[in-house]
């Protein structure tokens, strides 16, 4: 585990040094919110749970949960996911 933490630290340093965005270097999700009606998650690893009230998405950095009403998955591609509906909460676990 220590080795992995070390690797992460080095990568973070490198990305800061060369000003490379974190989603490329660190395998982090890039989340774009449009008001409260649309959310775009790039760099995802698949969905864990989907109900109209709650969408949980697996990412390289844990889990992203979107809560709201009438949520639908507008679009799903290997590394891109778009959720539409009334978004109330966005949480990271």
């Amino acid at each position: 585990m220590a080795f992995r933490d070390l690797r992460r630290k080095v990568r973070k340093r490198l990305s800061e040094l060369f000003e490379i965005p974190g989603d490329v270097m660190l395998d982090l999700p890039k989340i774009t919110l449009v008001g409260n009606i649309q959310i775009l998650v790039e760099n995802h690893r698949g969905i864990i749970e989907y109900t109209p009230q709650r969408v949980r998405v697996c990412t390289g950095d844990g889990e992203v949960a979107v809560g709201g009403e009438d949520l639908i998955l507008r679009n799903i591609l290997p590394d891109e996911l778009m959720v539409e509906g009334k978004i109330r909460t966005l949480s990271f676990n």
Binding site: Y50, T51, L77
Partner: protein, 414 residues
């Protein structure tokens, strides 16, 4: 998004219902294998609806088996399914193909011919010339040689300086530019004769030999300026006596010219007008109803308009249109348009002065209509005509004295 919708419509997609314990797994696996899914919505616990491209349905079977899900096609959307549906309706497809090909076929003919830019030449003359050169209604466009046609029209009509043919769809426009030709002067010998009776006021001769002079009274048809110039004789020298009976020596024989000149004369013109003091009649009120109907073998079917005419008194105008007969086949259908114009009766009473004024107006109007443009009015008299009969008509005679050119050309027959 519009482009995406259009694309997915053209390639076709299906709406499928996925049921199973964990449909999320199904979605994940499909997404990770590069299958594009969209519009995913949950209908109930363990059942989701999603859209997927037609070409990606087959690999989904494998995924469904792996994730222990089942899927059923709910709806098919897109052009491929529509075309498949058309395959069962061959007559419709055949009709559409026939319609399009007929439309295309008919647009390759010329149906309308128009003429532009003609002033002195009539449209029919130009169309006739074009027809002679081979341009007629129903000519296939591929047989149209514009260059040759333009040349032919110019050759046939010498008044045309340039002709251009412009084809727009099924419409051909023949544009012509006309030559400006100098006016041909009439050189044939002629006299100037009087058109009306009158008293000559002035005679101005441009060419010819004056026969009348100021103050003469002329009758219609009388020669005013002769086209025959009398022979010029040698003036006898003073002192030398000419023997009686000796013909004067002719220096130049008589010749004939086209006489021209202005002969102004005082002319009297008369006009008559009568107006009733009590006038009754009917005149249109301006309200009208139009009834269209189709007549077929004696039966009339009204297409638009009411059957009962809401007017008490009316006049009708009827127009009948029918298709032209071809050989012996006539189409027994007529399109009839009837226009009902409402008329109202009226009674108008005038006082004698009113009627007199009106009659005078009519009488003067009658004179004015015949007056040439160069006429100058000198005087006018208006008087009532007494007939001795007792009726409600006021009759008025008007006389106008004018000065006008009374000469007209009359050719000399040699």
């Amino acid at each position: 998004m519009f482009l995406f919708n259009l694309f997915s419509f053209l390639t076709g997609h299906v709406v499928i219902l996925v049921t199973g314990e964990a449909p999320e797994k199904f979605v994940n696996m499909a997404a990770s294998r590069g299958i594009h899914l969209w519009d995913i919505s949950r209908v109930r616990e363990g059942a989701i609806l999603l859209r997927v491209r037609l070409s990606a349905v087959k690999p989904l079977r494998h995924i469904a088996r792996r994730t222990r899900c089942r899927f059923k096609t709910r709806r098919r959307v897109g052009l491929p399914f529509y075309l498949a549906g058309l395959r069962r309706r061959k007559a419709l497809v055949a009709g559409a193909v026939f319609f399009l090909s007929a439309l295309y076929f008919l647009t390759s003919f010329i149906w309308f011919i128009e003429v532009e830019g003609n002033e002195r030449l009539s449209e029919n003359e130009i169309i006739a010339a074009a027809e002679e050169a081979g341009l007629s209604r129903g000519l296939p466009k591929w047989k149209l040689e514009t260059g040759r046609l333009e040349a032919a029209i110019q050759e046939k009509l010498p008044l045309v300086a340039w002709a251009g043919i412009d084809v727009k769809g099924t419409r051909v426009t023949i544009e012509v530019a006309e030559k400006t030709v100098p006016r041909v002067e009439d050189r044939r010998p002629s006299d100037v004769v009087s058109a009306r009776a009158g008293l000559i006021k002035e005679v101005l001769v441009f060419e010819g030999h004056p026969v009348v002079k100021e103050g003469d009274t002329v009758l219609p048809g009388q020669v005013l300026i002769s086209g025959e110039i009398p022979p010029l004789t040698e003036p006898s020298s003073p002192g030398a006596e000419r023997k009686p009976g000796e013909a004067p020596k002719i220096v130049r024989p008589s010749r004939y010219v086209h006489a021209r000149g202005i002969v102004r004369a005082r002319v009297w013109r008369e006009g008559y007008g009568e107006v009733a003091t009590v006038e009754t009649g009917s005149k249109p009120t301006g309200r009208r109803k139009t009834v269209f109907s189709i007549k077929f073998e004696g039966k009339e079917i009204i297409l638009s308009g009411k059957r009962n005419i809401p007017f008490e008194h009316y006049e009708t105008e009827t127009f009948v249109k029918r298709l032209p007969e071809w050989r012996n086949i006539g189409i027994p259908v007529e399109l009839i348009t009837v226009i009902y114009n409402e008329v109202a009766e009226y009674r108008l009473e005038r006082s004698w002065t009113e009627a007199y004024g009106k009659a005078e107006e009519i009488a003067l109007q009658e004179i004015c209509e015949k007056l040439p443009r160069d006429a100058r009015l000198l005087e006018r008299w208006v008087e009532e005509v007494q007939t001795g009969r007792r009726d409600n008509l006021v009759r008025v005679k008007a006389v106008v004295e004018t000065v006008e050119d009374i000469g007209t050309d009359r050719p000399i027959n040699q």
